[in-house]
Symmetry: C2
Amino acid sequence: MIIASIMSEKTKKKPSIYKPKPISGFPEWLPEERLVEQRWFDHIRKVFESYGFCSIETPSVEETDVLLAKGEVDKEIYEIKRIHEEDSSKESRLALHFDQTVPFARYTAQHFNELVFPFKRYQIQRVWRGERPQMGRMREFYQCDIDIINVDNLPLSHDAEVAAVMYEVIAGLGIGPVQMRISNRKILMGLFENIASKSEDIPLIMRALDKIEKVGIEETKKSLREQFNFNDTQVENIIAIASRKFTTVDQIEEHIGKYNNTTDEGFRDLISVMQSLSHLPEGAVVADLSIIRGLDYYTGTVYETQLLDVPEFTGSVCSGGRYDDLAGGFINKHLPGVGISLGFSRLFDVIRQQRPELLKIGPKSPTDILLYTEDSALSSEASKTAQILRQRGINVEVFATVKKWDKHFNYAKKKLIPYIWYVSTNNKHEIKNVETGDQTNANPTTWSK
Amino acid sequence: MIIASIMSEKTKKKPSIYKPKPISGFPEWLPEERLVEQRWFDHIRKVFESYGFCSIETPSVEETDVLLAKGEVDKEIYEIKRIHEEDSSKESRLALHFDQTVPFARYTAQHFNELVFPFKRYQIQRVWRGERPQMGRMREFYQCDIDIINVDNLPLSHDAEVAAVMYEVIAGLGIGPVQMRISNRKILMGLFENIASKSEDIPLIMRALDKIEKVGIEETKKSLREQFNFNDTQVENIIAIASRKFTTVDQIEEHIGKYNNTTDEGFRDLISVMQSLSHLPEGAVVADLSIIRGLDYYTGTVYETQLLDVPEFTGSVCSGGRYDDLAGGFINKHLPGVGISLGFSRLFDVIRQQRPELLKIGPKSPTDILLYTEDSALSSEASKTAQILRQRGINVEVFATVKKWDKHFNYAKKKLIPYIWYVSTNNKHEIKNVETGDQTNANPTTWSK
């Protein structure tokens, strides 16, 4: 009736059926998929909290000016506006956040005096980007971010910590082996301090190198020659270094002392981070100088992550880095930090579409036991039994008494509910395993799966 | 640096400090408040799932036309729009949902063939309303909804079930005694079938009666006389019946047979629901004919809920009812249902502001143990210890080695972390209770709180 009245107002003619359709870029899942998504979120939260990260949530909106100022993504921002807003100039312009970094910076500055530093927070929220939707690219999606920030300085051990946390998160999702690729931007920045014609070029060169995988190696070489005036030897050198991968710390150490202090500092920091991660399985982490991250604000360690068994997932599952100052424009404090962001919904959706077997989709409900009685006179005994089982942590659904005997059985089968509990006269309790058909006597105060 | 660059672009002059401020109606919590909010959500989810409700989430947006059609709330809807959208006519208009009922109706119709009925779902999401913000009234807030819908007919036992679930939810939040007030709209509707001058008046009379608490009894009497042409005796009769409260089923039974079939059906349904809830504590549920719910689409049982110990919370904590057809305009099926919605954020915020002691706000992080070693040579032993404890379900934060000895202690005290674990040379492990100062030897494989 609700929607019948909606539709009759909408069409202004006789109520007709309005066939609902998905909105492109705004996905939603079926209950059985959502149960897997919840399992993933629970796992992620558990790992984050096991390392002492606390949760925060910020509003879905920020002032548009704050979001817009980041520059690059302005086209993708959604503003919100009340439909019947009469004078828009009276209210400040608000827009849905497109990531969790700007809101986190604003939050930290706003509540600075009430927070305790180092501040370790995680944030699992939806973000919105008005990009053209395509496979794994959505307009509304979840991100899972962790960051650690401190006042004035932040020990390097935290760079290893956030990597270990995210490795544990992804390795625990059951989607095959994962490899975290780590570099330190100081390595290449030091190199370019020596050879770039002017220092303003350095961030531009970094960005050009970051695009190797996208535009190809020849195109990158060309732009290094033409845009930044490097000669052929320099170009070959740059490409060689920016392609280096190291599997042992010794291999990195060989390079120290060959360039300048900035580069050496980068190598030493990278070694320290790799050493702190040596407890992870072999191949879990590699030092890879091709990891650059295009964003200028990263100043040290940078991360990307690859799923080794899921080639359909292109790009990085989660990525991040160390930055010099999180919230400098908001507050007169120096707040260095390090963080990694997991593009949750993109990962979930690619796996869902391309490798559904990895999701291990199961039941359509969280119910452990469907409780049934043929006789409505027993309904009080039935709810008492259900309540005893629930207090013991078992999820129990009471099926309303209906005459057609097989209805509850079909319902349990379709929803993949594992057990049916029968309450009969004379206080007789029996439990049936829906899959095997086995049926035995049971006691609500002692039964367990 | 991120925001420094934002701000310098924004102001187009020297980087200056932009003091962030809250956005009215879009609340956010400190970590220690968020921890309580998470505890509440976890409790609510656990209760919902223990009765077999499955989770769904819908996108934050629906097509504007679908949302607008409901009529009454159009002024409060937020539309979203990409800032650089060139031709808005190309894209369908989208708006943030203002409740979870319309999205749920659309979801059920859209995925009808993939769902199993009766469909029991819960939904915990943010909703948005552009209302003027005031105490406990927000523009962005969480709602927690449960509904059970079925094809063609839905047994009355589910009307009692959703009430029992929500009672258990609120009683378990530790905010004092709660009372659920239940009625059945058929009772008054039957009455007005007998005495209203025309049947179109019936929903209007119901709405007028629903406003008694808001406009006062005299005003309501006046409108009954003037707007609907009832005489004084009729008005007194209506008010008398619409104010009746019953604490026993016998009291209700006395009224059967006095009016017409519709009314009798209402009384019988109400008796059945009350009987199914008789296992709840005394006073948990009362039959109260003044509960009407203004929304026309409720056709039977209706609910409201009061916190008895928190007079600052005006109105109903959670409310809902039975409806004849959820998604009729979307699909050629008859889908009756019953549901209740909990206004989560309003409840949380009123308690937070008016009765903060009830929130039992504690630590600022989920950390159980802060692990510390004075000697950075022991950092590998420290992370090994932390990992052993984490695998045993204990949340452990490793404090980076710093020279100032009392720094980690002050950190633990400020965040209310209960324990500090010391790893020293010769593999010596000790644990300190931060509150009492007691310190003893400990073994990571056996220690427990």
